[in-house]
Subunit: 199 residues, 2 copies
């Protein structure tokens, strides 16, 4: 398999986390997150959204969207429950991440720490920081009294939400106000199959 990857992208990290759990071998092809001028040339025909991660299977078929790629890889493993309602709860958190969490927390982190021109995004920071804190507050409320996002064990929901939550401080989000998130981050990172983002 070939993973079109950006090492600092949390969306790509989700895929690498699942691949590491599977013990799968794959080739990484690194694309820049700041200079995206080559995306159409490299990813055209593979992913309508022209984004990383894009996974190309050994038979040449390609998938985009971290949620779809990780679901494809993880279905049938203990990361995706077999009970239909629990499966849907995992998907609920995957969609929450892509709609409420990533466009705030990942966007601010990118602007501040990786874009190379943070001043270009100053006018957007306040609204996106507030949106990020709303997403974190929703997670904190849900995780209070729970060990994992869905059920009693680690699932794809935890992997997906871990990716950008654990680097939220790079975007200036102070996680000290979210103690249940803090304990959950430690729990997810303590899983024996866990690999760090820079691996």
């Amino acid at each position: 398999m070939i993973l079109y990857n950006s090492q600092v992208s949390g969306n790509c990290y989700k895929v690498r986390l699942v691949l590491a759990r599977l013990g799968a071998s794959y080739e990484r092809r690194e694309l820049s997150v700041s200079d995206r001028t080559d995306r159409a040339e490299v990813l055209g025909g593979l992913n309508p959204a022209l984004r990383v991660p894009t996974l190309v299977l050994d038979d040449g078929r390609a998938l985009g969207e971290s949620g779809a790629i990780t679901w494809f890889l993880a279905e049938g493993t203990d990361l995706v429950p077999s009970d239909p309602f629990s499966r849907a709860q995992v998907l609920q958190w995957l969609f929450f991440e892509q709609y409420d969490h990533e466009p705030a927390i990942a966007a601010v982190r990118f602007w501040v720490a990786y874009s190379g021109r943070p001043e270009a995004f100053t006018h957007l920071l306040e609204e996106r920081r507030a949106a990020g804190h709303r997403a974190l507050a929703a997670m904190e409320t849900h995780l209070t009294g729970r060990q994992y996002l869905v059920g009693e064990t680690l699932t794809l929901a935890d992997v997906a939400l871990y990716a950008y939550t654990h680097v939220a401080p790079e975007g200036g989000f102070d996680l000290a106000a979210y103690p249940s998130i803090g304990a959950w981050l430690d729990r997810v990172a303590g899983d024996p199959h866990h690999v760090p983002m820079d691996a």
Copy 2:
């Protein structure tokens, strides 16, 4: 089942389309899309994102996120393929819709046609219109030469993308430039199980 619903929301329409196909009976509880001050009171404890659609099953368990709700309802029907790769392709389009398509096309439609204060969003229109046209162009390219988004039959991907695409003109998106989308919209709406948005 109880569906917390907004009749003009495309996200809720996706759920209603799937429920209509299933012939399922359910109660609708209508929430306003413009005055959202009651969301925490009504949806707290049911949906961490405090949004419609939220579906409450007969046993009291609740699900949020249109992609998760429709997947839960449609798994095992012909809307969700059984082949793992095709399933992942359906999910890819569901995530594309929530990340690239809805935040542009649905947002502009809401600001222009439903917010009651379009002038408050004027400064955001140009960038969001451009993003919407990028999403439509990606769909047009993919649909050229194809009957449906995934495989040879109608799937949940078509239902999900139909919802906000067919009302994109309410946001000022002229679909005349996208003939393959136009033919696909007619095809989806021609399905014998289809119901209109205002049903």
